[in-house]
């Protein structure tokens, strides 16, 4: 057997695997979503519960991504630049949310903020409901996406040459000028890619949210949970229609991202993967 025909066999086998696992299923969602034509698709996504779920998902994912971008950048900065006691442990803990199953994350949050916990009791005495309400959803989204921004920003900070900052200091720049003019421009691609990753992952999150927020239509039902409900009640066309909208959002974003930072984006993604591998900084 020569190498050309063995190459062809490997290609076909892998192609078959991806066809079975990815392409057929993806095609099936499109077909199913369009099974009632454009009007059927439109009807499915304009039901009040569907619109509510999509809006809730998008707005809460945005909120979670924004707060995690802020906190993640700060965490990365402190982990690289400050002398924090217990830094090695903190750095290892950053990856914790990636390693824990999402259902377990949901159970953790349920225990911490649930009505029977001291914290949950205290919050509800201040009329702040976390579980079965939107704050719980945001907390769940924030927990599962916490590592993204930290790991996107950390390698850029590590690679940043201190000479530039020192030069700026000697030229009389103050603290905020150095940060805004020297440090931030270097970190920006990492911050942005962290933000987009957080947002996409938060939109997709299901396991922890269904545990923390339950499945209450028009109250705490996000899009992924709505899709699950429609599948359970055998309404596959409606589930597919909402799925398409949810699938389109991250694709649109990654397109947007490559428009903003065409060159940096691949780099910062690879550096993120490396940072995750590196563990201790």
């Amino acid at each position: 057997m020569n190498s050309r025909s063995s190459n062809l066999i490997i290609r076909s086998l892998l192609g078959g695997y991806l066809l079975m696992l990815v392409f057929l299923p993806l095609g099936a969602v499109f077909l199913q979503a369009w099974s009632g034509g454009w009007s059927g698709f439109w009807q499915a996504i304009s039901l009040p519960a569907a619109i509510f779920a999509l809006k809730l998902s998008l707005s809460l994912a945005l909120l979670a991504a924004l707060s995690n971008t802020l906190m993640g950048t700060l965490t990365a900065y402190a982990l690289v630049r400050y002398r924090l006691p217990g830094k090695t442990i903190l750095n290892a803990l950053v990856d914790m949310p990636f390693a824990v199953p999402t259902a377990v994350s949901g159970i953790m949050l349920l225990i911490l903020y649930g009505p029977r916990s001291p914290l949950g009791e205290m919050l509800s005495s201040w009329h702040i409901e976390v579980v079965y309400a939107w704050p719980g959803i945001v907390l769940a989204m924030m927990f599962v996406t916490f590592p993204f921004t930290v790991r996107a920003v950390q390698p850029l900070l590590l690679a940043l040459d201190k000479d530039m900052e020192e030069a700026a200091w000697t030229l009389g720049a103050n603290r905020s000028q150095v940060f805004a003019r020297i440090v931030l421009p270097v970190l920006w691609p990492g911050i942005l890619s962290g933000f987009f990753l957080c947002f996409a992952r938060a939109l997709a999150e299901f396991g922890s949210i269904i545990l923390v927020a339950g499945n209450i239509p028009l109250q705490s039902q996000v899009a992924s949970v709505y899709i699950f409900g429609e599948v359970e009640s055998g309404n596959l066309a409606a589930a597919s229609a909402v799925s398409l909208v949810l699938l389109a959002a991250p694709l649109l974003l990654s397109w947007l991202q490559t428009r903003i930072y065409p060159d940096n984006i691949k780099e910062s993604l690879t550096s993120m993967v490396q940072a995750v591998r590196e563990g201790a900084a």
Partner: protein, 263 residues
């Protein structure tokens, strides 16, 4: 300023990481070890844990082998349609697990053409083991590939070319040159795949039907226990899964350091 920001970072870790972790460990611990053990060894829990183990082992085996070939195809090969392979490898990362499950139901479910055909021949995919494995394969497919692609790019072809000029066959070169150079990244990807397989929830929930003692995996069991107010059962399985995640995290950190040394 520095002290203030450090305090904020400690607070972030306390609220967002240690708080939830401590809550589970504390609440679980309050039930007592004996009660937890009893919950873990009840037939339903044992079945769920064994099913999860089986699915994870199958998934790791298949996706590690497929991952090596996919990565080689993406980096070393040049052909039309390669972009499609790349897109297929990236897709699972941006798909919600529930949608992944839905996609598989739409192709292999009992009411589809393919599903009906397979059922006629006595093969059940959805609401059975093959469906759970397919869903887990889908979710974890990119992990090994994404570990290997940058390493293959960085290594280049020099070593392989040297082997060829010394008269080695492609097969020998693959086993003796290519595979050893990927060792650490491959292991890292496999451990990631294992962790992700054990923890998968949404996709498996949709395709498995969550049938007790039939298609219920460990994460589904934990979820069901919460829904049915069997909190001790939920804590027991969650703590076990948490312990496994800690171990995989430690292994990954060690492997990551080895990778650094190797590179």
């Amino acid at each position: 300023m520095r002290a203030f920001l450090s305090a904020v970072v400690y607070l972030i870790f306390l609220v967002f990481i240690l708080g939830p972790l401590g809550a589970l460990i504390g609440e679980g611990g309050r039930s007592g070890l004996a009660a937890l053990w009893q919950e873990l060894t009840c037939p339903e829990a044992v079945f769920a844990l064994r099913l999860t183990l089986l699915v994870s082992v199958l998934t790791v085996a298949i996706n590690t082998i497929v991952g090596v070939f996919l990565a080689l195809l993406l980096v070393r090969d040049k052909f039309r349609g390669q972009g499609l392979f790349q897109a297929a490898v990236d897709l699972p990362l941006s798909v919600s697990p529930v949608i992944a499950g839905l996609m598989l139901v739409l192709v292999y479910g009992p009411y589809t053409m393919l599903g009906a055909f397979l059922t006629e021949h006595g093969i059940r995919i959805i609401f059975a083991l093959p469906g759970i494995v397919l869903a887990t394969l889908f979710i974890t497919m990119p992990l090994v590939v994404r570990q290997l692609v940058p390493v293959l790019r960085e290594n280049g072809l020099e070593q392989e070319e040297a082997a060829y000029t010394l008269g080695a066959s492609p097969w020998i070169t693959f086993w003796k040159v290519t595979l050893p150079s990927l060792k650490w990244s491959l292991l890292y990807g496999a451990v990631m795949t294992l962790a992700r397989s054990m923890g998968e929830f949404g996709a498996v929930l949709v395709v498995s039907g969550n049938l007790i003692m039939q298609t219920q995996t460990a994460t589904l069991y934990a979820y069901d226990s919460v829904v049915n107010f069997n909190m001790a059962g939920a804590y027991a399985v969650s703590l076990l899964l948490l312990a496994i995640s800690f171990i995989t995290l430690l292994i990954m950190q060690t492997l990551g350091r080895n990778q650094e040394v190797a590179n």
